[in-house]
Symmetry: C2
Subunit: 314 residues, 2 copies
């Protein structure tokens, strides 16, 4: 049996996992991401953590296929990172650098794309040949997997679906500087924005009026409890989400759309709410996609990075 | 040297072409599409036309690689057509049927997708590895080619980009029954719709007011001549087109976007007008696509169908 590592570098922590070649996750742990000094310490920290895992667990180095690494920014097929603002990184070849630090073969990918690959391989997309992964978290991320290959895009931005324009008349700015992006409506933050707008516009009483710092979960919980205004907010949210997913299906026409991120904790309620709006907005011939909730949670990234390694060197 | 045929079945005519294996178009001709009686005569007509070409030109049957066929509707990888309303066709395997009628290997594809493959192979997309083709004609069609393979979609609707929702508040219905589709704004018909709206809303005089049955070409010509209202209409058109192309690039991030169809006769004027709006609407990291005008005109489909044959049997 051979083995490998999956490494998912985030702005706060680095998630590491140890897999056997069948894709069984054998062990996982985290280390803090040290972003000081332009993020110079991150890769040496990863290398040290891998080395001490190998030493502590008596792993045979000759049986290690390689290390997969996911980064929160664009990275091309050769492993060249093109700026990760969260980490302070500029342009450099992460695959080469981490390989020199560890002595192992390294394959790199964008974090959203590798999470998609993980879900495709062992999660909500398992058993399908084409998948769009949509992550409804603080922002909206995505990844497209076709016949087992991630659509990285010619400039590392394949699946940057959170910044499609959904509402051209929007007056508030998105974090990216544009107006009307998908992320402004369909993210967890988007749920809260919609809630704020409905609370301001409507007179109706609601349990949400008595809370400070409403979260997406609060809105879903209030809706579940039958709060009228919360239900109106959710209908508006489902409408935006359904339109967005319809647009995606018109482009890609995947077998399955896997929904992940914090908003998806709403599970079946989310799918049931969104589906009628999806069908209202989608072109009939592109309406055949199935919908599923992501299954790997925070492990999707390490699964996906290890799959990169298997595909490249396995 | 070996040879093959490309056949592009449209609602009015069937375009046929004879290629050598390098992709040189040696001959082309058309026959009428007989849609009477559920389109039952179409394939026998195609088979007869191919047979008489072979006879008349003394083509060695053993040197024929096969026949590629494009159809105006969804078709899967196995050659199963899923209804072509224009032709009166239901569900059947066109590859099998045309193969039985001709004795040659047959590969089938959707007309927009094979036109995209043709432009990718020998037209505006030649030399690039990933391409989105956008056809701005009576409607808006599309095709996505990644590493030489057409993204057919799981249900034959990959690249059905004309029915993405562009304007959620639209009151008029699209031909597909939905409201606010890309096709309602970005097609040649869309140019005319925008013109009608601007002519109704504005007081400004314009040479367009003195015409009946305005065409997209009239609007571009008037704009070129400096007509103020025509220029306003075109700015509105470029804005819609730029937003649409920005959304596409956020999903696919291709190396090149090739624009075809009647509207593209405006050429560089169209590209120059659209580009600032594209950059206003696109996510910065997905803004790297180049734009090009299609080069094969009505031959794109036959080039693409023959390429299908080369890839499958060549």
């Amino acid at each position: 049996m051979r083995y490998g590592f999956g490494v998912d570098i985030g702005g706060t922590t680095v998630k590491l996992a140890f897999f056997d070649e069948t894709g069984m996750l054998l062990d996982k742990w985290e280390i803090p991401t040290v972003t000081a000094d332009g993020g110079r310490q991150i890769l040496p920290d990863v290398a040290a953590s891998v080395a001490s895992y190998i030493k502590d667990h008596g792993v045979d180095k000759n049986g290690v296929i390689g290390i997969g690494v996911g980064v929160p920014g664009p990275v091309n097929d050769a492993g060249v990172v093109n700026r990760c603002i969260n980490l302070g990184w500029g342009v450099f070849n992460i695959a080469q650098e981490l390989s020199q630090l560890t002595g192992f073969a390294v394959k790199a990918g964008n974090d959203a794309n590798v999470a998609a690959l993980g879900e495709y391989w062992k999660g909500g997309g398992a058993g399908y040949t084409s998948m769009v992964m949509v992550t409804l978290g603080t922002g909206v991320g995505g990844g497209i997997v076709l016949d087992g290959k991630v659509l990285h895009g010619a400039h590392g931005s394949g699946g940057e679906i959170g910044h499609m324009v959904l509402r051209r008349g929007e007056t508030e700015a998105c974090g990216c500087g544009k107006r009307g992006c998908v992320e402004q409506y369909c993210s967890a933050t988007g749920v809260v924005r919609l809630a704020r707008r409905h609370l301001e516009a409507a007179q109706m009483d609601s349990c949400l009026r008595h809370r400070q710092n409403i979260t997406a979960k609060d809105v879903f919980d209030a809706g579940k409890a039958g709060d009228g205004l919360a239900l109106e907010i959710l209908e508006d949210y489902y409408d935006h989400l359904g339109e967005f997913l319809a647009d995606l299906c018109c482009v890609v026409d995947p077998e399955v759309v896997v929904l992940g991120g914090g908003v998806c904790k709403a599970g079946q309620m989310l799918l049931d709410g969104m589906t009628p709006y999806f069908h209202r907005h989608v072109f009939h011939a592109a309406s055949g996609a199935k919908f599923a909730i992501a299954r790997l949670g925070n492990d999707a990234g390490t699964y996906g990075t290890f799959k990169l390694v298997l595909d490249a060197f396995g």
